[in-house]
Symmetry: C2
């Protein structure tokens, strides 16, 4: 019998809160009927929605919480006011005390990360958690991290991200030995920021069996799917993710207005509609909804705050998949293998090479 999987949901998170969370859970339960849920939220709001969604009611337990974190709360404020008692905190805490296998929230990213770090703590040997996104590419899907958990990263932190992302690629996109690239402004070894070049040297020397280090990749390699895992620090990762989302929207909008110009193009559109529908499905941001917090002693998935029930369902199913595929133990094994390799053959500390700069 497969293991029973339980997810804890912050029922109050997101722009529309429980109104999206409960119907989203309903959709997820159709596709993952064995899933069990713990819903944290204001019973006065959530219970009527459960009455209207009997499938969710049957699969879940509702735990009343007086407090909810607001979408514009600052992380420090959310922690001060919402620790121990908010729906967000309690959903995370359920993971910590073993009542749930992963937590899902569409609430404010900064608050969720602050609470997740405070409650779950980072894994032994990992300094910083990362937010990993699943990025649709020409070859399928890639993992991109960090997409904004923190800004800046040193070489060792980038190496940690490579290990975390490699484990996630094995667990979620089903590659045996994922390829890992470091996002940079050129593919030559002398290019870019010193931290990235040093991380490249460490990865090249580490020869971990769990992934294959590809080298540097550039911005256009992400969508091309050149590697399974793209490693970057949170500032550039966030800019890349949002720029790609914006560009996809822009191209779709150009196409719409070009099609609307004449009767001929509109009739052509109707005939080619199955193709446009396939494209829309392929680019649907709801399908790849869900940023995964990696590097913590527990799994937390951040759903987009503005998503609808379908999008929230994707985030729930992503959590389900990661638990089913044992992401946490894969991460644990890979981290242990890396640390062991370090102890046995200590890696010489990266020597600074002069950056190529005009005189």
């Amino acid at each position: 019998m497969p293991k029973q999987i339980t997810l804890s949901l912050d029922a109050m998170g997101g722009d529309r809160g429980a109104e999206v969370v409960v119907p989203g859970a309903d959709i997820a339960l159709v596709r993952c009927p064995s899933l069990r849920l713990k819903l944290y939220g204001d019973a006065a709001i959530v219970q009527p929605l459960l009455d209207a969604h009997p499938r969710v009611a049957a699969a879940s337990e509702l735990i009343h919480c007086d407090v909810s974190v607001k979408m514009d709360d600052k992380p420090s404020q959310a922690l001060r006011q919402g620790r121990w008692k908010s729906s967000m905190w309690r959903a995370i805490d359920a993971v910590k005390n073993g009542e749930a296998d992963a937590a899902v929230s569409a609430g404010n990213t900064g608050a969720l990360m602050a609470m997740a770090k405070f409650c779950l703590r980072t894994l032994d040997g990992v300094e910083r958690p990362a937010i990993a996104a699943i990025w649709p590419t020409l070859r399928g899907e890639s993992i991109v991290l960090d997409c904004g958990a923190t800004i800046g990263a040193d070489a060792q932190q980038l190496v940690d991200f490579a290990i975390l992302g490699g484990a996630m690629a094995r667990a979620v996109i089903g590659v045996d030995v994922p390829s890992v690239g470091l996002l940079n402004v050129g593919v030559e070894e002398v290019k870019g920021i010193e931290e990235i070049r040093a991380a490249g040297r460490l990865l090249r020397e580490s020869r971990l069996p769990s992934f294959r280090y590809h080298g540097f990749v550039e911005g256009d390699d992400v969508g091309a799917g050149t590697v399974d895992v793209v490693v970057t620090e949170g500032f550039a990762g966030n800019i890349a993710l949002k720029t790609a989302e914006g560009t996809a929207k822009q191209v779709a909008s150009f196409l719409r207005s070009a099609i609307g110009r004449s009767w001929r193009t509109r009739i052509g559109y109707l005939l080619a509609k199955p193709a446009f529908d396939a494209l829309r499905e392929k680019l649907d941001p709801r399908k790849s909804n869900g940023g995964v917090f990696l590097g913590l002693n527990g799994l937390v998935i951040k759903s987009h705050g503005g998503t609808d029930a379908e999008g929230f369902a994707s985030a729930v199913e992503l959590g389900f998949d990661m638990v089913r595929n044992d992401l946490l133990s894969k991460i644990g094994q890979d981290m242990a293998a890396y640390r062991l390799g370090e102890e046995q053959a200590p890696v010489a500390h990266a020597v600074s090479e002069p950056a190529v700069e005009a005189p």
Copy 2:
């Protein structure tokens, strides 16, 4: 009579060198018949091409150069071997000594920037040059800088980029008072890297008449055209530019494969072809080919190394436009106005605010 405009072209730059440069110049001369050219390159290669393109021959002077910079030369190597004598250097030097109004090269970016800095020097009061790209948006075109001249930038350098980009927006995209935004990972004033927040405070306080400071923008604002000028440092700018190029290609490729799936969608495509042609034209990277080096005592345009004659013609025409619209004197005026404002009401040095971080 309008001023005679002369551009100097590095005839040997780019993946295919003179084979693209001379036919590209030919296309540009059809659209800008008053243009005059100085072509720097190996006469044995360039002369036969001029013989085949009489329009270019009639409008240009060929200056023989023995040396050409290779596409994979390191900047320092290019400077050592190509200074004073390479086609790239001499095209830039023609701008310095007043024989040309701007230089255009499809050669190696690092070498071109190194030579341009060495030969032309940065403008008084500007520490670092930037590469500005013209980015097609939903609202028309925006200027994005720095797209990779240097990595990292402090608050004052970001302010310089804002002034340079504002002048370019007035000269090239024809906005009277361009709006300027700082690229960041959130729009709230407390978000992001300290340098960016400090630049935001400086720009808010400077109240320059030449542009309007909008605030922070995110990755998806670039394609939306939220502001006329997007200011960022060269690492994030390069990642954003290449990610957007990659995403546009990816969407086009998804669309092609979706259309090829059935006879119905293929017939629909044929009917809607004018719309697809319009889209292709809109997204044609050759139309927006040409990175502009800003902040130097002279104008240099970098054409994409892999472009064709049509793309190289766009870079030449961009140079023509910038000279015709007096970009350099607009930059000079705006810089002078900013320095004057600084002297009259010295801006208090940005006080560091604590970054919002989880405890």
